[in-house]
């Protein structure tokens, strides 16, 4: 190919492109995109920081406090844009909670630590062990997450199991038990694979719930229910979010050996049906590659509407895609279940969305991480620009199907066309293998679509509705009468219980 010729071609095609754009622009000038509603800003980092963000919170004075993989805890003043060191030398800190302007709690590999600046020079001088009452085999995969403070001042933390991709160290902390060493992930020292509660009154760390693999995210909803996320892997057909209650078992079998009164048997020797009957299912399954690969921290929108129309809902971070996920849950038959829908696509968000926190202005801060896996490094801030996008506000199960609630009235002619909606259902196997393919996949026909008089609710009657399946709904271009487009047209409902 002749270089100069191609350049001429390029030039002329560019001119044509602009001309065409100019001609058709009145038609498309108003094409609705997410950037009309949300914008993402990258936070400038201090020189020399490897920003693998493990935790973030805000101090009462408005400074961000964040901890990073190389053990630093830094503060950032959003007004002056000044970064300062608060603490250093920590071991892979993966969570921070601000207590005051001079005191924080950090979850690092070996312990939950209270870190204080007692001489008011801006840098911490006291590192108190709040609790280290859990085992460590030295296996790299034994990450520790949290702390999450409940309304009574207690703290929840979560402890990873070990990976058979690496062994254990000659010296360990805690009582060794080989009963669950087989399998992909194992728990050979106490309470690996558990969510733990640090009781502030007794100052003891109490086992709270078992069955976790890599619980990289703890959060409460508006009613104070505890949610913990986990990652696709063994006993995890796809990444889940659990509503966690005391003494329940959440499916990953290795941690069962530390359960009180659990018989001295290898958990892997139990029939899968037995284990399946013991476990509590996830409130939400995030279909792998459909919406997420690796979900992180759930966070309640408690901004009172400063972040848009989603107050009272949970957001959750995602590692492998440049997006967050928004959660729409409901209680059915005494259990939480519900839907997930993408959020933030197209706002310029990075990948590796590991930690989330709202500031008092209602901006959502996102701490990025890669940690040796897929992701990104750095910090971002998502800002709502004040207009309401067309989004799904709720997905509720009905006797015969589902009802969607939208943030704005939708165009009746488009919305009542059944061919706009494609339902599919499938499930993910519960087994010791890593992940699961979509299983028993089938299209589900829409019998009837109705739109509410206010134009905000679309109801579907489906030909079939079964518990134990994810209902995957993909929609065509739904819009409002004035041309606002539905921002996210795929939604996934985890149906554990029928109405």
């Amino acid at each position: 190919m002749n270089f100069s010729k191609s350049r001429v071609l390029y030039k002329s095609s560019l001119i044509t492109y602009f001309l065409v754009q100019l001609m058709i622009s009145p038609l498309f000038a108003q094409r609705d995109t997410i950037t009309n509603y949300y914008e993402t800003e990258r936070i400038k980092l201090p020189k020399g920081l490897r920003a693998e963000t493990g935790g973030m919170d805000f101090m009462p004075d408005g400074r961000l406090v964040a901890c990073f993989h190389l053990g630093e805890v830094m503060t950032y003043n959003p007004k002056t844009k000044v970064w300062k060191k608060f603490a250093e030398g920590l071991h892979d800190p993966l969570g921070v909670a601000a207590i005051s302007n001079t005191e924080i709690l950090v979850m690092q590999r070996p312990e939950l630590t209270r870190i204080k600046d007692t001489n008011n020079d801006g840098v911490a001088d006291v590192y108190e062990t709040v609790t280290d009452d859990f085992g460590m085999s030295g296996n790299y995969h034994e990450f520790a997450f949290g702390p999450l403070k409940d309304k009574d001042g207690n703290y929840f933390i979560a402890l990873n199991v070990a990976s058979n991709g690496a062994g254990i160290r000659p010296e360990i902390r805690g009582t060794y038990d080989s009963l669950s060493r087989e399998g992909r992930m194992y728990s050979c020292v106490p309470y690996r694979g558990w969510v733990m509660k640090y009781n502030v009154k007794t100052q003891k760390l109490e086992p709270y719930a078992s069955g976790f693999r890599s619980p990289n995210g703890l959060g409460f909803d508006a009613k104070g229910r505890l949610y913990v996320s986990d990652n696709q892997g063994d006993w995890r057909g796809t990444s889940p979010l659990y509503h966690v209650e005391k003494d329940k078992f959440y499916g990953h079998v290795a941690s069962l050996i530390w359960k009180k009164d659990f018989p001295r048997v290898k958990p892997l020797s139990l029939p899968v049906e037995k284990l399946d009957s013991m476990r509590t299912r996830e409130a939400i399954a995030f279909p792998h590659t459909e919406i997420a690969h690796s979900v992180t921290q759930p966070l309640l929108d408690n901004t009172g509407g400063k972040f848009g129309p989603f107050m009272g809902q949970l957001f959750i971070g995602e590692m492998d895609y440049p997006r967050l996920v928004r959660l729409l849950m409901e209680e059915v038959g005494g259990q939480m279940q519900g839907a997930c829908v993408a959020f933030g696509d197209g706002t310029g968000l990075l990948k590796g969305n590991n930690r989330l926190v709202f500031d008092k202005n209602g901006d959502l801060w996102v701490g990025h991480n890669d940690h040796g896996w897929v992701g990104d490094e750095g910090l971002s801030r998502i800002h709502w620009k004040g207009k309401i996008p067309l989004e799904i506000m709720a997905m509720n199960l009905t006797k015969e199907g589902f009802e969607l609630t939208f943030s704005l009235p939708v165009d009746a002619k488009i919305a009542t066309n059944p061919s706009l909606y494609k339902f599919q259902r499938y499930y993910y196997k519960y087994h010791r293998l890593y992940g699961s393919p979509k299983t028993d996949v089938a299209d589900v026909a829409v019998k009837e679509v109705t739109l509410s008089p206010d134009g905000k609710k679309v109801s579907f009657k489906l030909t079939e509705l079964k518990a134990g399946y994810v209902y995957d709904l993909k929609m065509g271009e739904l819009k409002t009468a004035d041309g606002k487009l539905l921002m996210n047209r795929a939604i996934y409902y985890t149906l554990n219980k029928l109405k």
Binding site: P46, L70, G89, H91, V126, M136, E171
Partner: protein, 361 residues
């Protein structure tokens, strides 16, 4: 197929020849008018490649001179006045062996040359006016071990304790004492590495609550540990001079009873940590400091209340350490602290560091 074999041959050949004779040295101009390496060694006639990086926030060059010609070269540049800039502050004189250009901050130049055939100490220096009096080091052309760092007259006196200054992996400069919680060899997974200075460090076990070992010559390299998921151990830089083989050296009530321990954290005073832990319910605060000339450490034990039982410090008299205590009596390597003790300082003196050849980079 032929091509692949040929390529493999070239790679093997290149590697062989590199392994036999060439050497690559990374040398950085860093903050405080100094080079990160105070000295390095090459062999006579060796092909040398220097990756010279300017990591400072001002301009620097790198000039290697003939033995003992650092100051004459530096002073010639000053005499050249305005004319020096045009020649990168490198005077055209035979005393200059090899030189870089002036590098602005955050730039790199690769300099390749053949080391002189004659063994000797060839100074390297930044000849930017004013810098050359303090910003220098020594290229040893030799096959023999280097002299003791502490008395090496060919390096800046400020560097006689520190051959190499590590660049900080953090968004702040490295300051000492320096503490890292990390995975360490021969320790429980709750390990704490503490550098008392850049060349004297110890490992405290926060799981078992005692000093595991101490070393001289550097601190710990966490590069691999910090890579990705954190599987690798931190690497000790230097030579261990003390290792506790006793396990749980502090005992309460009976010298032969292993205690229950509980780690409670640490406080920092001018960055120096004091560890807090309990031994069978007896609360202890322990601070470690370097002895003069890094001839070991002192360990100050402070009990929160006067002890109500006898406390023992059990040591192994074959560990090469000379123990002394401010309180108590020694017998067969075990120190007995009487009831009512509130404070005890134990010094652990080790034979002076055997300074080896540290010229592998």
């Amino acid at each position: 197929m032929y091509k692949v074999v040929f390529r493999l041959f070239v790679v093997l050949f290149a590697f062989r020849s590199w392994a036999q004779s060439d050497t690559t040295i990374t040398l950085q101009a860093i903050t405080g008018l100094q080079f990160d390496l105070a000295r390095f060694a090459v062999k006579p006639n060796q092909k040398v490649k220097i990756l010279f990086k300017n990591e400072d926030d001002m301009a620097h060059n790198l000039v290697i001179t003939q033995p003992d010609k650092r100051l004459p070269v530096v002073e010639t540049v000053i005499k050249m006045g305005d004319k020096a800039q045009a020649v990168n502050y490198v005077p055209p004189m035979p005393e200059v062996l090899v030189a870089s250009k002036i590098l602005v901050p955050n730039t790199t130049e690769t300099i390749t040359f053949t080391a002189p055939a004659t063994e000797g100490v060839y100074p390297y220096v930044c000849t930017y006016p004013g810098h050359g009096y303090v910003m220098y080091g020594a290229m040893y052309v030799t096959t023999r071990p280097l002299p003791l760092l502490a008395t090496d007259p060919n390096i800046p006196p400020s560097r006689q304790t520190l051959e190499r200054i590590l660049s900080s992996p953090h968004p702040f400069p490295l300051e000492y004492p320096l503490l890292y919680r990390t995975f360490m060899p021969e320790c429980s997974p709750a390990a704490i590495a503490v550098a008392l200075s850049a060349s004297h460090a110890y490992c405290f076990d926060a799981g078992k609550c005692y000093l595991r070992y101490a070393w001289r010559g550097g601190f710990v390299d966490n590069t691999d540990h910090w890579k990705g998921n954190g599987n690798a151990l931190g690497k000790i830089q230097g030579t261990i001079y003390f290792k506790d083989n006793v396990t749980y050296p502090l005992r309460v009530g009976k010298a032969d009873k292993l205690p229950e321990v509980d780690f409670k954290g640490y406080t920092l005073s001018n960055r120096l940590p004091t560890f807090r832990y309990a031994i069978d319910g007896v609360e202890v605060r322990e601070t470690l400091k370097a002895l003069p000339n890094d001839e070991g450490v002192s360990r100050t034990f402070v009990f929160s209340k006067p002890t109500t039982q006898t406390v023992y410090l059990v040591t192994q008299h074959t560990d090469g350490i000379t123990y002394k205590s401010s309180v108590g009596k020694w017998q067969n390597g075990t120190l007995t602290l009487p009831k009512g003790t509130t404070k005890c300082v134990v010094t652990m003196q080790a034979p002076p560091a055997a300074q080896g050849a540290h010229h592998g980079h």
